[in-house]
Symmetry: C2
Subunit: 121 residues, 2 copies
DNA sequence: CGGGATCCTCAGGGATACTG
DNA sequence: CAGTATCCCTGAGGATCCCG
């Protein structure tokens, strides 16, 4: 066998991980950090619409899973930098592809939606 | 410019689309349909833990966005098949990579979590 | 078989205020 | 600056029943 895990099984621990990364905010954070490391407020500013609570929560979860690293500098006031870990880097391609897919295909999506609404309504 | 859309902007229509595909259940459905077309109850059976309500909702949303197609056969009782559209097919690689990433890296994730819990307490 | 309609809950996440 | 702590609320989603 390749490995003992099965994402289709609801009791598999991979499900919990998928639940964390298959999330709008997590993907945007990972995508942003895939470009370059960033500080807390920079992330908050650039990822429009995210609340500091959700940002904080998500960063902590991603750090716990080993996808991102947190480095604090003893300046005054404190400076904190978030970056992808090597493990997190393995995900960048998939993350970027998913996050930016909508941008590249929005016109086709609009047409599909219009056609669907025509048919159904 | 490449295109007029920006996923980092909260008012961009791509955000709504991302919200739909950056979802645990949507990714599992897309991944499953990436292997082969499937019927409603087959999806419900194979994607363990999904409720028929969420399955139904998600399928409808994905169909509206043009990612999957629904074909009903006038048998008794009715037979319905879901499959990826060409548009949906463009996403399969990214979806598969994300969905199965946890399976391939679960050991590293476990270690990261253990180390984190040790550090934090 | 492939769903639609209801009811209900509970936890995800927004808003606000405070701190090292 | 980079968060933590509370309060509060709504809407995602589970459970159940029903139907063409």
């Amino acid at each position: 066998m390749k490995h003992a895990y099965d994402i289709y099984s609801d009791r598999c621990p991979t499900r919990a991980v998928l639940d964390r990364i298959a999330d709008k905010w997590a993907l945007l954070i990972l995508d942003r950090l895939g470009e370059d490391r960033a500080r807390f407020n920079a992330l908050k500013r650039e990822i429009e619409g995210i609340s500091q609570k959700v940002l904080s929560q998500t960063l902590k979860a991603l750090e716990r899973d080993g996808l991102i690293s947190r480095k604090a500098f003893p300046t005054v006031p404190v400076t904190v930098e978030y970056a992808l870990t090597p493990l997190g880097h393995k995900l960048t391609e998939a993350v970027s592809a998913l996050a930016h897919w909508a941008e590249a295909n929005m016109d086709a999506i609009h047409k599909a939606q219009a056609a669907y609404d025509q048919r159904v309504r």
